[in-house]
């Protein structure tokens, strides 16, 4: 349970997971933000206006999967670091996850890092495909990693600069 241990449960996660058909089409965002907190930068960050808040600033973000094209601009905009972009159509066996990163060391593109699940457990190794820095993101990096497809809904963090053991 999210409010007991900080790990979003499968039941809590279910409504956030994009539909099978949408996942097949390519990258799509997942805002893992299920609490009414006063925060709205993601709404403004989306150039396609796919994220809305109906009941004002303390509403949860509602993502229109049909409008979202997985551009990843929302990822670094979220002060709660709770938005991820998942691309299940990346390759036959692998998927990509784009996540925010504010730690050291900063991995290089092509580097292999540890991929962690929502509990912080290393579940596999991940290849860093892209490291995006931008003044707009204000020192929050947006990193895209490649991981096995079956772990795309589990991996939500990386640890760089450590030796990664095989799964």
């Amino acid at each position: 349970m999210l409010n007991k241990d900080g790990i979003i449960s499968l039941a809590e996660l279910a409504p956030l997971i994009p539909s099978e058909s949408r996942l097949k089409k390519g990258p799509v965002a997942m805002a893992e933000c299920i609490q009414d907190i006063p925060c709205d930068p993601c709404v403004l960050a989306c150039p396609r206006h796919a994220i809305t808040m109906k009941a004002g600033i303390t509403d949860q973000p509602h993502l229109d999967q049909a409008v979202c094209n997985g551009c990843t601009l929302c990822v670094a905009s979220c002060p709660g670091l709770a938005i991820f972009v998942v691309n299940m159509a990346h390759a036959p066996r692998s998927a990509t996850v784009t996540l925010p990163y504010e730690m050291l060391p900063v991995p290089k593109e092509g580097e292999v890092v540890a991929a962690l699940d929502r509990s912080g457990k290393t579940v596999c190794e991940a290849k860093v495909l892209k490291v995006m820095k931008s003044k707009v993101y204000d020192r929050t990096l947006t990193i895209t990693i490649e991981i096995p497809k079956d772990l795309a809904m589990s991996v939500r963090a990386i640890r760089a600069g450590v030796k990664v053991g095989r799964k």
């Binding site: 933000c33 006063p38 009941a55 303390t58 509403d59 002060p79 709660g80 670091l81 912080g120 204000d138």
Partner: protein
């Protein structure tokens, strides 16, 4: 030596600084004192990006908000005098205060005072809670984010409110291992996105647990924890030790209210706001018409609401001296609107309830 000011502002954090900027820009002669060497209050330690409305500072790091406010204050060429390294040590009679600068003790006379003294960190009772290596969360932030020194190598965080969660994240950024977050309540106190972002980096969050003792002779070498039942009683035989060299206490804040008491402001105890706070009329004016309040001193909340409350206090203090002003009214209307939206929704329940008590009761006082 005596100084004259129309509006005397105590505290250069987000609340006091915003109040001083607004009052000075509207045309009041303002003296601002702060006991730190730098303006910005606790914002100077906040490396994380703030929540809130994109219309005001959301997504911006606390350190950048402090910088923005400092620049705004510096750009004010007249009406605003800032005196750093200076404490307001007492209120005497009507419209008189004593300040202690690094050089001397001085008298300040004022027409209105805005008190934005902020808050002090709470401590917690447990065995050995005075050992070296046990620090308040604010102290950890000061050491780490202002002076660039890690508090230790392995740290235990006590308290899962937003401060406990955010400081745990900042500790990871500074390269410190966080061995866990202990929380007496059955559920996490702070925003769940903050909890998730440290959990996924491997920090366990132990709800329904408490710290029994700090261990060590001359400094912390570990901590003994145990489970709590639903009545917050220790569950026998559940003690276990965690090895750590530091314990960080993030167990809440209490408003700093001595100056209100000296000014005979009516006070009310509101647990939702952190304890004893001055009654105020909804425009930040206390029961002493010379005295206004802003920021955490008016009730523990956070920096964005402190800024907004400060803007209201600054505008209303100006109006009370110079008469109604449409510019001041606009500042108040805008800030009040923003506050309302920030405090809406289920996470704002406690604050709304607390604020209503503080402002309702003044009508009868």
């Amino acid at each position: 030596m005596s100084r004259k000011s129309e509006v005397f502002v105590v505290g250069g954090g987000p609340a006091g600084l915003s109040a001083a900027i607004v009052a000075a820009k509207l045309g009041a002669r303002v003296l601002l004192v702060d006991d730190n060497p730098m303006l910005g209050g606790q914002l100077v330690k906040q490396t994380h990006r703030f929540f809130g409305s994109s219309a005001r500072d959301a997504g911006i790091r606390g350190i950048s908000i402090a910088e923005k406010l400092r620049m705004e204050a510096q750009a004010i060429k007249k009406n605003l005098v800032v005196q750093l390294n200076t404490s307001a040590v007492g209120f005497y009679g009507e419209g008189e205060a004593g300040i202690l600068t690094p050089e001397r003790y001085e008298k300040v006379t004022y027409e209105r005072v805005i008190v934005g003294t902020g808050a002090v960190e709470n401590s917690l009772n447990f065995e050995n809670n005075d050992l070296p290596g046990i620090y308040g969360a604010g102290a950890v932030q000061t050491l780490m984010n202002v002076h660039g020194i890690r508090p230790g190598k392995r740290i235990l965080m006590v308290g899962s409110g937003n401060i406990g969660l955010i400081v745990s994240y900042q500790l990871l950024q500074a390269g410190v291992e966080v061995v866990g977050v202990v929380e007496a309540m059955p559920t996490i106190g702070g925003y769940l996105v903050h909890a998730s972002k440290i959990r996924r980096l491997g920090i366990p969050i132990m709800t329904g647990h408490t710290i029994v003792s700090a261990n060590g002779d001359l400094g912390v070498t570990g901590a003994t924890l145990c489970q709590l039942d639903e009545k917050y009683q220790r569950v026998p035989n559940t003690e276990f030790e965690i090895i750590c060299d530091c314990i960080c206490l993030a167990v809440g804040l209490s408003p700093l209210i001595e100056l209100f008491q000296q000014a005979s402001c009516k006070m009310v105890f509101v647990p939702e706001l952190g304890g004893l706070v001055p009654l105020q009329d909804g425009n930040m004016r206390t029961s002493n018409p010379r005295v206004y309040v802003a920021g955490d001193a008016s009730g523990i909340e956070e920096a964005t609401t402190a800024i907004l409350g400060g803007r209201i206090a600054g505008a209303r203090a100006f109006e009370s001296l110079h008469g109604p002003s449409s510019d001041a009214q606009k500042i108040v209307d805008d800030a009040a609107g923003e506050l309302k939206s920030l405090r809406s929704g289920s996470t704002g329940n406690r604050i709304r309830w607390g604020r209503e008590r503080v402002t309702q009761e003044i009508a009868s006082c």
